[in-house]
């Protein structure tokens, strides 16, 4: 964790920047430790240990702005660095929109970093033996069958401790401290005709006691085997169910389009959409970033502005843009936070549906369990993604499919949202459940 000497240096840097001519200064101090063990077929393949610390600095000098970072945190090095940084900042053109956020918008309740309950005090007690034990004890224990042979299992155990302090020349002091423990398994299998497939399963938790790794490798194997024999289905328009493991891929372009930089640069397909009903009433996305003990929760953004819970999209109506101080000053829009922190796509039309139940309600279509590349045009919302998954009929899985593409427009897609489940994973940064859409264009054979 960040120690008192590093805090002293951080405060000294803010003061020194002002002495050297900066009117304002924001500083972020980061320190982290991470450990990683990769196994291959039940034996250790590689181990790595990382200790990082760095400082980033945003300087506001004579109406000009620039940002800097360094991982050399010795006092004289830092002073030389700041002198050079101020000199570069003075080369920039003036931009009156570049300012620190008003102090009343800033977070005042993240003082020791533990407020969100995301730090596991057992982290400093972990040693190599304990880590090896976790990494090795639940590696895949399965035999080949007549239907498949196991080519390889790669598993990974990792843990990390992350500490961040934000301070500025107007008195900001925010700290966020968290730990993370993760385990993942990736299994490759080969079918009787030589075809290979691979799939993965994972778990990530802020507390070690909640890291249950028993069935991870088995689930990865099950998913890989299910995909054997996949081939493209006929091109056409299908109902599409997207599994919770990958559904956040579809929410990301929407959230990006609500971002201030995209809006200000006319590079958003959601320009002038605030307060408008653009999507199906089935779509509601809420910010839920103040949940103690739940990973991803956070009290402040990168400017130190206090985050808030509330609607982003409610019953298809856009309720919030993500506007930082700079964009607010440029556009006159009301400032909020830089970005969505922990967005939750809410269940529709009722709580309690999971992927299987949604497939049952849709009857027939394609279940998407994986995306393979693709993109979304940020200005128009037009998208095209590679997908794999399963064809289903009468609510039952029929056959695996691969080498297919979905193509459409994001605004139109979310007008066709039929169902949203209640099966979000707590270890994803965006809490998106299984989703169903009506009439999506699939390209295949």
């Amino acid at each position: 964790m960040i120690d008192n000497e590093e805090i002293r240096l951080a405060k000294l840097c803010v003061e020194f920047a002002k002495e050297q001519g900066a009117q304002d200064c924001r500083l972020n101090l980061f320190k982290s430790e991470s450990n990683l063990i990769n196994t291959l077929n039940g034996a250790v393949d590689n181990v790595s240990h990382s200790l990082d610390r760095s400082m980033s600095l945003q300087l506001f000098v004579d109406g000009r702005f620039a940002s800097f970072s360094t991982n050399r945190l010795e006092e004289q090095d830092l002073k030389d660095f700041i002198v050079k940084a101020i000199s570069l900042t003075r080369v920039m053109e003036p931009d009156s929109a570049r300012q620190l956020p008003e102090p009343e918008r800033c977070c005042k309740c993240a003082t020791n970093g533990r407020e969100m309950g995301l730090y596991d005090d057992t982290f400093p007690l972990m040693d190599m033996d304990r880590r090896l034990e976790i990494a090795l004890k639940n590696c895949l224990k399965a035999e080949n069958t007549k239907d498949y042979s196991i080519v390889s299992e790669e598993a990974q155990y990792s843990d990390s401790e992350f500490d961040n302090i934000s301070l500025d020349s107007r008195g900001l002091w925010c700290r966020h401290l968290e730990t993370s423990f993760e385990y993942a398994s990736n299994v490759t299998v080969q079918g009787p005709e030589g075809q290979k497939t691979s799939n993965y399963e994972w778990i990530a938790r802020p507390m070690l006691k909640d890291l249950h790794t028993e069935d991870i490798a088995g689930k990865a194997l099950e998913k890989a085997v299910a995909q054997l024999g996949a081939k493209a289905a006929s091109s056409g328009r299908y109902n599409m169910v997207v599994h919770r493991d990958v559904a956040s891929k579809l929410l990301t372009p929407l959230l990006n389009a609500l971002g201030g930089y995209a809006l200000q640069q006319n590079n958003s397909f959601l320009t002038d959409s605030l307060g408008k009903q653009l999507f199906s009433p089935a779509l509601s996305v809420y910010e839920v970033c103040h949940r103690k003990g739940e990973s991803g929760s956070r009290l402040f953004d990168s400017e130190g502005v206090a985050t808030k819970e509330g609607p982003i999209i409610e019953n298809g109506v856009i309720k919030q843009y993500f506007i930082n101080t700079y964009i607010a000053n440029k556009t006159g829009l009301e400032p909020s936070v830089e970005d969505a922190v922990r967005p939750l796509l809410k269940a529709w039309p009722e709580e309690g549906l999971d992927c299987r139940a949604i497939i049952g309600r849709c009857g027939s279509g394609i279940l998407v369990t994986g995306f393979n590349g693709g993109n979304c045009n940020s200005a128009t919302g037009d998208f095209s993604y590679g997908v794999e998954g399963f064809l289903f009929e009468n609510g039952e899985i029929k056959a695996p499919v691969s080498e297919m593409l979905i193509t459409g427009n994001m605004k139109e897609l979310f007008c066709k949202l039929l169902y949203a489940g209640s099966d979000t994973r707590s270890d994803q940064s965006k809490l998106v459940p299984s989703l169903a859409f009506e009439g999506v264009d699939f390209s295949g054979l």
Binding site: V47, S48, L51, Q195, K196, N267, E403
Partner: protein, 450 residues
């Protein structure tokens, strides 16, 4: 190595990255970023222990060495020491700077971006927003290993990225352009401004007229240059030896086999001067070199780092690369391309295709190593109908399978172009790469459409 490791290497890095950006016709943001440290790797057979330190004093390095050396505690009697070539000839240097980046004046970049903004806006009145970022980095590298080998490398990398929003009659399109080379300050000249301005302005009208074709399997003609993303995704990754060593790659049992038409040569090359993929040394002290992966249609080599090379009983091909001192090296591509055919033109391929699509603007791609399924995203092109280019198309993904796509290469033209865009490969770690192809005709790729 006291704990039992049988090979060790150290990778010292001192990097500085500078960026200066223009937005709304103002050069009003920029900065620099310093990164300094040393990575220590200990091998025990094929197993890797890795740690790094951001301080290079003796005590800190010993702590990192101790952490990396712990891999020996995980070893078994079955581990055989990897066999490493001791020969370490020196390269002549593939990226000498004419004007040293350490002498750069920031005001030069402000002037360059202002000039770019005014000339582009004069030239194309439909531009409503323009963002441009000039950046350069310089990495001082020193490597040393337990065989007593050592080398220094000075790695410059300069880039200019443009993104323009263009509006016409309520329609909007994004145009992007980038160029990136391992050069000194001479990279940032008037010719660069002209070249990227041309890229932004080219095909604007086509972008407003373009639609999406009906989806499905069809013949695809890929223009020379950035089409190299196909080779990178569909073949290059599957030829990286770590995936083959573990039996995961779709190509792991195809060494020595005919995998595409005779006459086709696919290369991964570190020796073409100034490219993003150029390497005097890889990141584990193997000299940069040119590697034929496919010769005359036959799979002849994977891309090896020292671990995989030892596993196969071969010399490393110099593909052991890493993002920075925080990462250990793994097999990575450099500049991946297909050599030109002796004759044939783009027009010949379009005629030969009959019906299908022609594509010449790309962005991202991805591959699934085990199945060989790859995709890449097409920003622009044309329909081909009866052997002629007809309606413009945009924003579609193409998906295929590596071995099938290789076997489906119907024809190759004689117009190889290596693209100089800002290509970055992500395989857990980001490394700069380059790619290129001559024009290609490939049968039966699946094209996204409505």
């Amino acid at each position: 190595m006291r704990k039992g490791g049988n090979y060790c290497d150290l990778f010292f890095e001192n990097s500085s990255i500078w960026t200066i950006s223009l937005k709304d016709s103002k050069v009003s943001s920029g900065g620099f970023h310093r990164d300094y440290g040393c990575g220590i790797r200990v091998l025990c057979g094929e197993r890797t222990g890795y740690a790094y330190s951001e301080s290079t004093d003796y005590e800190s390095l010993c702590k990192a060495a101790d952490a990396a050396g712990a891999i020996a505690l995980c070893s078994s009697l079955k581990d055989k020491p990897i066999q490493i070539e001791a020969d370490c000839p020196r390269n002549k240097g593939f990226y000498p700077m004419q004007q040293d980046l350490r002498l750069a004046q920031s005001s030069r970049f402000v002037e360059l971006l202002q000039k770019l903004d005014s000339s582009l806006r004069r030239r194309e009145s439909r531009i409503v927003k323009l963002m441009a970022t000039a950046s350069y980095s310089l990495s001082e590298i020193y490597m040393y290993n337990s065989l007593g080998q050592s080398a220094e490398d000075l790695r410059p990398l300069c880039s200019l990225n443009l993104s323009a929003i263009i509006e016409q009659n309520g329609q909007r399109q994004v145009r992007t352009a980038s160029k990136s080379l391992r050069q000194g300050l001479e990279f940032f000249d008037d010719a660069l401004i002209l070249e990227l301005s041309d890229t932004i302005c080219r095909n604007i009208d086509r972008g407003f007229e373009a639609g999406r074709p009906a989806g499905g399997q069809m013949n695809v003609v890929m223009a020379a240059g950035a089409s190299g993303i196909l080779l990178h995704e569909a073949m290059g990754h599957a030829f990286e030896a770590d995936f083959n060593r573990k039996g995961q790659s779709i190509f792991c049992d195809k060494m020595g086999q005919q995998i595409c038409r005779k006459g086709i040569n696919i290369v991964d090359d570190a020796t073409i001067p100034f490219l993003r993929g150029s390497c005097n040394w890889d990141d584990e002290l193997t000299p940069g070199q040119k590697t034929y992966m496919v010769q005359d249609g036959v799979l002849t080599s994977y891309l090896h780092d020292r671990i995989s090379a030892s596993c196969y009983g071969l010399a490393s091909t110099g593909n052991g690369r890493r993002e920075c001192f925080r990462n250990f090296p793994i097999p990575r591509m450099r500049t991946t391309y297909m050599e030109s055919a002796e004759k044939g033109s783009l027009e010949d391929l379009i005629h030969l295709a009959g019906n299908g699509i022609y594509v010449d603007e790309f962005s991202n791609g991805e591959v699934q190593i085990e199945t060989g399924d790859f995709t890449f995203y097409v920003r622009g092109g044309y329909l081909i109908e009866n052997g002629r280019l007809t309606r413009p198309i945009k924003d579609l993904n193409i998906i295929g399978n590596g071995p099938k796509a290789l076997a489906g290469i119907e024809a190759v033209a004689s117009d190889l172009v290596i693209d100089t865009g800002r290509w970055t490969c992500g395989k857990g770690q980001s490394v700069p790469v380059s790619c290129g192809t001559p024009s290609l005709l490939i049968n039966n790729l699946t094209v996204g459409g409505q």
